[in-house]
């Protein structure tokens, strides 16, 4: 018996990208192309899984491989039994591909994976649910699809139904369920898998907030039972809470592998600006009215960098650039901040005294609202940018989810959490002033007197 749970050795995965169709300018060429197309199509479909041409090339060959993509390239790591490991990375980093290789859904193009123990992989909840079957029947079907035996499901059936909270609808076809109920039932089945190794994708991004909490707790239990868990997610707070070790992928390569605080701060300092900025280059396309148009919204650090991942301790600036096209309006830039569950954290109106109760002249304005550090809790936030006037019904523009950012707690000891690494609850995480008075035990009389 090996002392490893998972061994990933130099795994690579190639995908073939779509190649641009050849177009013909002349009728003759078009007819010839049409006649040749079955052969061309055959070659195209065959090339989807054959990479002899690419693999035969030298590793150092710098020729541009225009039509292939290395979704994974030389990834190696080892996981010991009982470890809970998070895998993070931006979109396209290779997280999902790695997961699919480990779950045996797609083979690697190169390399080798060894897994020791019974594996269950959860890439989505409710795989194989059939709308015509009842809740009870789907529990059995879904359970066996996930690798459970019928006996095992018989034994856990009551527990599964309890967890899902849909006992009243057990004999109703699933097509009559609300989507929330379906998800609950599906997750309940998944939560009762008892593999030695559990590979999970972002299945937690489903259901309402209360149910998500239940799921996170359940996952924490799984980790504490000594099972090996591999957790792939964008949800930073969930990763930091659940996984002591984190692997970060970027562009198909393993960028970092280490304790959660190290990797998460690396992620933080990597400063990716994907959805932290939104610009409208063409004024005709920009949202707005005849009087004012929104030109861009940005999430900025104190240093003026555009940042998607922001340090929990540092202020964040929400910057809105708009163009006034028609004079004579009093304008009130207005932000609403939502968390990932859609809860409004706050709204804020431009406080700049210089422009209050004053008509704006033609030209461009840049308004920035600063959210202080040590106020928001960990997680992702979505900004809604609105241009109001004193007339309550009038909005020149109103853009939901115009930009987003993620607040990350880097675990460096000087944030609100101090040295605590466990869960912290609450919608906000303000830095409060704490006072401690110490009354030495040697002077009981004095205490009584005061």
């Amino acid at each position: 018996m090996s002392n490893l749970a998972i061994k990933v050795d130099d795994v690579a995965k190639l995908y073939r990208l779509g190649v641009k169709e050849q177009t013909n300018e002349h009728l003759g060429g078009a007819i010839a192309g049409f006649l040749k197309s079955p052969l061309k199509n055959y070659r195209k479909y065959r090339s989807l899984y054959r990479f002899d041409d690419v693999l035969a090339r030298d590793k150092d060959d710098t020729r541009v491989t225009e039509d292939v993509l290395w979704a994974l390239n030389g990834v190696s790591f080892e996981i010991e039994p009982g470890e809970v490991v998070g895998i993070i990375g931006t979109n396209g980093a290779g997280k999902s591909t790695l997961l699919k290789v480990l779950a045996r859904i797609t083979p690697p193009t190169r390399g080798r994976v060894e897994i020791y123990g019974r594996v269950s992989s959860l890439l989505e909840v409710g795989t194989g649910f059939h709308p015509e079957l009842t809740g009870r029947e789907n529990v059995y079907l879904n359970g066996t699809i996930l690798g459970m035996r019928k006996r095992e499901i018989d034994r856990k059936f009551d527990e599964i139904i309890d967890f899902s909270g849909v006992e009243k609808f057990l004999d109703t076809p699933v097509k009559r369920y609300s989507s929330g109920m379906r998800v609950r039932l599906a997750f309940a089945v998944a939560a009762h898998l008892e593999p030695e190794i559990l590979i999970i994708d972002e299945v937690l991004a489903v259901g309402d907030a209360e149910f998500q909490k239940k799921c996170l707790n359940k996952m924490q239990d799984v980790g504490q039972e000594g099972r090996t868990v591999l957790f792939v997610s964008h949800n930073m707070p969930a990763v930091t809470r659940l996984c002591p070790r984190v692997i970060m992928l970027d562009g198909g390569k393993l960028l970092r592998d280490g304790p959660v605080d190290e990797v998460v701060s690396a992620y933080l300092h990597a400063g990716r600006g994907t959805s932290a900025i939104r610009e409208w280059k063409d004024p005709q396309q920009a949202p707005g009215s005849d009087a004012v148009r929104l030109r861009s919204v940005r999430v900025k650090s104190e240093q003026g960098e555009i940042k998607e991942g922001v340090d929990i301790r540092k202020p964040v600036g929400l910057e809105m650039e708009f163009e006034v096209l028609q004079g004579g309006h009093q304008l009130m830039p207005y932000y609403t901040l939502f968390d990932e569950h859609g809860i409004i954290i706050f709204s804020s109106i431009d406080q700049d005294a210089e422009w209050r109760n004053r008509e704006r002249p033609l030209g461009r304005f840049i308004s920035t609202a600063w959210i202080p550090g040590n106020l928001l809790t960990e997680g992702s936030y979505y900004v809604r940018a609105t241009m109001r006037t004193l007339d309550r019904k009038m909005r020149h523009f109103d853009e939901r989810e115009v930009v987003a950012f993620t607040v990350i707690d880097a675990f460096e000891g000087d944030s609100v959490r101090g040295d605590w690494v466990g869960r912290m609850e609450g919608v906000i995480r303000p830095m409060l002033q704490w006072e401690t008075r110490y009354l030495p035990a040697s002077a009981p009389a004095e205490t009584a007197a005061s």
């Binding site: 018996m1 090996s2 995908y15 479909y45 989807l48 899984y49 699919k100 290789v101 480990l102 779950a103 045996r104 859904i105 797609t106 083979p107 690697p108 193009t109 190169r110 390399g111 080798r112 994976v113 060894e114 897994i115 020791y116 123990g117 019974r118 594996v119 992989s121 890439l123 989505e124 795989t127 194989g128 059939h130 015509e132 079957l133 029947e137 059995y140 079907l141 066996t144 699809i145 996930l146 690798g147 459970m148 035996r149 019928k150 030695e196």
Partner: protein, 279 residues
């Protein structure tokens, strides 16, 4: 992906695909509950929200028998070696209905279930084999029609009936082999979907379903016997009507069916590892 779960340490090795892999019967055995539930799902869902329900399993062949009996029996007046045309066609159309339906469902099984392929691992071979078992329910129900016709024409059972289980096996092997080949091809080339209805309609003329095997000229008989559907149809007819068993069709047909099934299984195993990448 060659994945070999080792019994002692439950070790799974995942590597790049290479070469041919035989069917992993031990793994298939471990997934027998899933196989069972998928078969049962197909049965349960097939006639969901229909008024007629399982009566469709009888209506479908019944209507075919009526039409064929009128056109080929009455209008064209085909010679059937003295057997009443309704009886002649019923014993053939019932197994043919099973074979054609399970073959077309099996060939589309991977395309229909493609979302599941991309989300979870299980032995893929379960998919094309599920309809082979699920359609047996329809077949069993349609036997009621067959028995009714046999009683109407006062056909007494003979010892030939003992060959029936063998013929049922052969009848399942043909669509299973075809289904393995076609489902693996269909996921790469959707042409299969368009070709199937046409091919099935043509196949009915490739076997002695509407006409007698004896009307095939002597010199083509050997070639004709290589069609396993001929073996099944002629076998059923002899077995149910107490005619001499047509071994000259059954042996070659069974051999071809076996080759079709084994080659289908190997081709399927070779291709299954790349299914998800070519969907």
């Amino acid at each position: 992906m060659s994945s070999t779960p080792d019994r002692h340490t439950a070790r799974t090795v995942i590597t790049a695909p290479s070469g041919w892999v035989p069917i992993d019967f031990r793994e298939l055995l471990a997934y027998r509950d899933l196989f069972g539930f998928l078969v049962w799902r197909d049965i349960k869902v097939l006639y969901a929200q229909t008024v007629m329900g399982f009566a469709w399993a009888i209506l479908n062949p019944l209507i075919q028998i009526i039409i064929f009996s009128i056109i080929f029996g009455k209008v064209a007046n085909l010679d059937t070696d003295g057997i009443p045309y309704v009886l002649f066609s019923t014993v053939a159309i019932i197994p043919w209905t099973y074979m054609s339906e399970s073959m077309s469902t099996s060939s589309q099984s991977l395309v229909t279930g493609q979302t599941m392929l991309g989300k979870v691992y299980f032995p893929r071979i379960i998919f094309p084999l599920t309809p082979i078992l699920a359609k047996l329910v329809d077949f069993s129900i349609s036997l009621v029609l067959l028995i009714g016709v046999l009683i109407f024409y006062q056909i007494a059972p003979t010892w030939n009936l003992l060959y029936l289980p063998l013929l049922v096996l052969l009848m399942m092997a043909v669509p299973a082999g075809a289904g393995l080949w076609l489902s693996a091809l269909a996921i790469r080339f959707r042409d299969v979907k368009f070709a199937m209805p046409f091919v099935i309609r043509m196949l009915i003329y490739s076997a002695p379903i509407l006409y007698t095997a004896s009307s095939i000229p002597e010199q083509y008989r050997l070639l004709y016997s290589l069609n396993p559907i001929v073996a099944v149809i002629e076998g059923y007819r002899a077995c149910l009507l107490g005619l001499p068993m047509p071994w000259e069709y059954i042996f070659p047909g069974a051999l071809v069916a076996l080759v079709l099934f084994l080659s289908g299984a190997y081709y399927f195993r070779k291709m299954e590892r790349v299914f998800v990448d070519v969907i």
